[in-house]
Symmetry: C2
Subunit: 355 residues, 2 copies
C-alpha cells in the first residue's frame, strides 16, 4: 500500500461521526449493491473525502474473491449499436459496484491472442459483444470459474450464456414486408459470412422469400463494413437487372448503402430502390436517412445481459451451479420511409407478420 | 490463486520447447511492450494455450506495482467523438499491455461520487474524456502517485496533464469564414456553459466576429444535447429576425440543428441558413449532412494522450518526477456544403485564417 500513504488512517467510526450518520450507513455506502438513501450516501462520501477515508477494497477483494471487474470484449465502435450497448452495460454494472475492463478486438474474429490477456486479470465475469470465442478460451474461463455471456452472437460452447435478438424471425419479417410492398427483384447485402447474426438473418430472409414464392434476386457481401457495403452496392446496381429492394444485414451497412445510392448513383430512395436495415440504431431514425429497420431492442438486451451475468457471478461466489442461458429478445420492424409500403401501411409504427 | 487450478504447471521452458523458440522469445511475448516477431508471438501463444501456461501476472504486478489497468472516465457515448476516442485509446493501451477500466459519467459533471470509486481499484493511470475533475479527486490521485490526463477539457489543477484541440482558434476561424461567406446575422449555439470547450470556442468566435466588425446576432444554449439543440433552433428561428448562419459548439448539436431546420422547419441549408459545427465526427462527413466543421484531429489527440499518460506512468515507476503537460493539437476547418462559401472557395478542402 506504499502508493497510498494517506489511506487507512480514518476509520468508519470517524466518518460516521463527521457525517452525522450511523456506522452502518457508512458501511452500506461502501458495499456495492447495498441499500442507502441518496442524501445519506452523498454526506458519507463528502465526509470520507474530507478525512481521506477509503474502505480497504483490496482486503475485501481477497476475502470475497471479487475484483469488481467485468471484462468486456467489443468489436469496432463505429457501428452505433456498440456504444449504446457499452454505455448501458457500464451503467448497470456501476449500479452493482462493478466496472467494465475493455478489450477491443476485430469484428467476427475469435480474437484469441487478445482475449488470452483477459486471464491476466482477476476478473469476475466476461461479456463478449459481437466477438466470437474459441472453445479453448471458453474452457479456460469455465475452469477458472469466470461466467461468460455473449451478446448478439451465439456459439456452440455449452458453458456460455447467449443474449440475442430474433435474427431469423427478423429476416423473415423483412422478406414478407418487401413482398407486400410489391418488390420483385429483392437482393441481400450480407455481413461477415462467418457470424451467427449474418447466418440467421439470411436464413430467415430466404425462408420468408420462399414462403411468398419469390427468388433471392441477387446477393453481395458488405462484411458489416461501410466501405465494403458501398462497393457491393455499386456492383449490384451495375448489373443488367438491378434489384428494386435491398435488405442490408445491419444499419451500419444500410447507411452506407443509402449514401451510395443517393449521393453517388443519383437514385431516389424508395422510388427507384427500397432499402431495409437491421438494428434500428440512432442514425436510422435521423430524418436524413429514416431507414425502415428491424429493431433490436438494445435496452432489453442490456438488461438481460446484466441479469444473466450477475446471476452467474452470484452463483459462482455462493459455490452453486449455474445453468447457462440463451435469451432471445423479440424485435419488431420499425417502418420509416426508406422502403415502399404496401397499400394501407403507414410509416411511423411497427409492422409484424400478423399484419 | 484457488480459482485457477490449472495455471502455473507449465513453465516458460516447456512453452519454448513446444513452440520451438527460445525461452527469451517466450518471456518477450508476455512482457508488454517488448519486441517480438508477430509469427513467433502467435506460435508462443498457441503453445502456451495448449499447455495451459500463464505468466504469473499477479506476482509480477506485486513486484512492479503495475496493475496494467488505466481507468477511463467518459461522458455520453451518443456523441460519435467519444467512441472514436475510446477505440483509439484502447488499441494504444493494449499495444503496451494495458487495458481500460471504464467509468461512465454525465457530461460536464465533476462526477465525484463515481470517480471516488476509481480509488477502489489498483490503477496505474486515469484518463478523463470530457469529464471535469474536482480538485479533491485530483489531489487524491496525485498523493497516490496516479497520473491523470484530461482530454478535450482543461482545468486549473496543476498536477493534471491536458490534451485539447485549438478551441479558441477554431471559434475564431469559423467567425471569419462565415463573414467572408457574406453572412451578417450570425448566431451561436452554446454547449454546456460550465465546460472549458464551450467557454473557449465561444470566446474565440466572439473575438473573430469583433475582428470583422460584426455583432453576435443571437445566442441560444443546446447543452451538447440533441433534444436541447433542436429546441434552441426552434426558438432562434421563431424570432422576428432569424439568423442567416449558425455556429454550433459541436457536431452532435449541428446534426440535430440540420435535422430540425430541414425536416421540421422546411428550410434549405445553406440557401436559407448556413450551419457550421465543431469536431468533424464521422457523421459530419456523411453526404446527407456534409457539415462544414472545425476538425479536432482525433488520431493526434489519441497519440498525445497515450504518450503523455505512459510517460507519466513510466516516471512514476522509476520514482522520477513528471511535469504535467498541456498539449494543444492544431485543427482545421473542413469545408463541406452546409455553409455558403465566399467567392473562389470550394468545398472538399480545409480553410484557414491565412486564406
Amino acid at each position: 500500500m506504499a502508493r497510498r500513504p494517506r489511506t487507512g488512517k480514518a476509520t468508519s467510526i470517524d466518518v460516521a461521526r463527521e457525517a452525522g450518520v450511523s456506522q452502518s450507513a457508512v458501511s452500506r455506502t461502501f458495499t456495492p449493491g447495498a441499500s442507502v438513501a441518496k442524501a445519506t450516501k452523498a454526506r458519507v462520501m463528502e465526509a470520507a473525502n474530507r478525512l481521506g477515508y477509503r474502505p480497504n477494497a483490496i482486503a475485501r477483494s481477497l476475502i470475497t474473491r471479487r475484483s469488481q471487474i467485468v471484462a468486456m470484449a467489443v468489436s469496432y465502435l463505429d457501428n452505433q449499436f456498440y456504444p449504446e450497448l457499452i454505455q448501458g452495460l457500464s451503467n448497470q454494472a456501476q449500479e452493482r459496484g462493478y466496472h467494465l475492463l475493455l478489450f477491443t478486438a476485430g469484428e467476427g474474429e475469435t480474437a484469441d491472442v487478445e482475449l488470452m490477456r483477459v486471464l491476466d486479470y482477476q476478473i469476475d465475469g466476461l461479456i463478449l459483444a459481437s466477438v466470437s470465442l474459441s472453445s479453448a478460451i471458453a474452457e479456460r474461463c469455465h475452469q477458472a470459474g469466470i461466467p461468460v455471456v455473449m451478446v448478439n452472437r451465439v456459439s456452440d460452447t455449452p458453458t456460455v450464456s447467449k443474449i440475442t435478438g430474433t435474427n431469423a424471425e427478423g429476416g423473415r419479417t423483412v422478406a414478407h414486408f418487401l413482398a407486400r410492398g410489391g418488390h420483385t427483384r429483392i437482393a441481400y447485402l450480407a455481413g461477415i459470412e462467418a457470424t451467427s447474426t449474418n447466418r440467421d438473418r439470411e436464413a430467415g430472409f430466404r425462408l420468408g422469400l420462399a414462403e411468398v414464392g419469390l427468388p433471392l434476386h441477387a446477393r453481395a457481401v458488405g462484411n458489416y463494413d461501410a466501405a465494403d457495403a458501398a462497393q457491393a452496392v455499386r456492383t449490384l446496381m451495375a448489373s443488367a437487372e438491378p434489384p428494386d429492394a435491398l435488405f442490408c444485414a445491419n444499419d451500419h451497412m444500410a447507411l452506407a448503402a443509402l449514401d451510395t445510392l443517393r449521393a453517388e448513383l443519383g437514385l431516389r430512395v424508395p422510388e427507384d430502390i427500397s432499402v431495409v436495415g437491421f438494428d434500428s440504431v440512432g442514425a436510422a431514425n435521423w430524418p436524413a436517412y429514416a431507414i425502415t429497420s428491424f429493431a433490436q431492442p438494445v435496452g432489453a438486451m442490456i438488461s438481460a445481459t446484466s441479469e444473466t451475468l450477475f446471476a452467474a457471478i452470484d452463483a459462482a461466489i455462493a459455490g452453486e451451479p449455474f445453468e447457462p442461458r440463451h435469451v432471445e429478445i423479440p424485435g419488431a420492424l420499425v417502418v420509416r420511409t426508406s422502403a415502399r409500403l404496401a397499400p394501407g401501411v403507414t410509416d411511423g409504427g411497427t409492422w409484424t407478420l400478423a399484419n
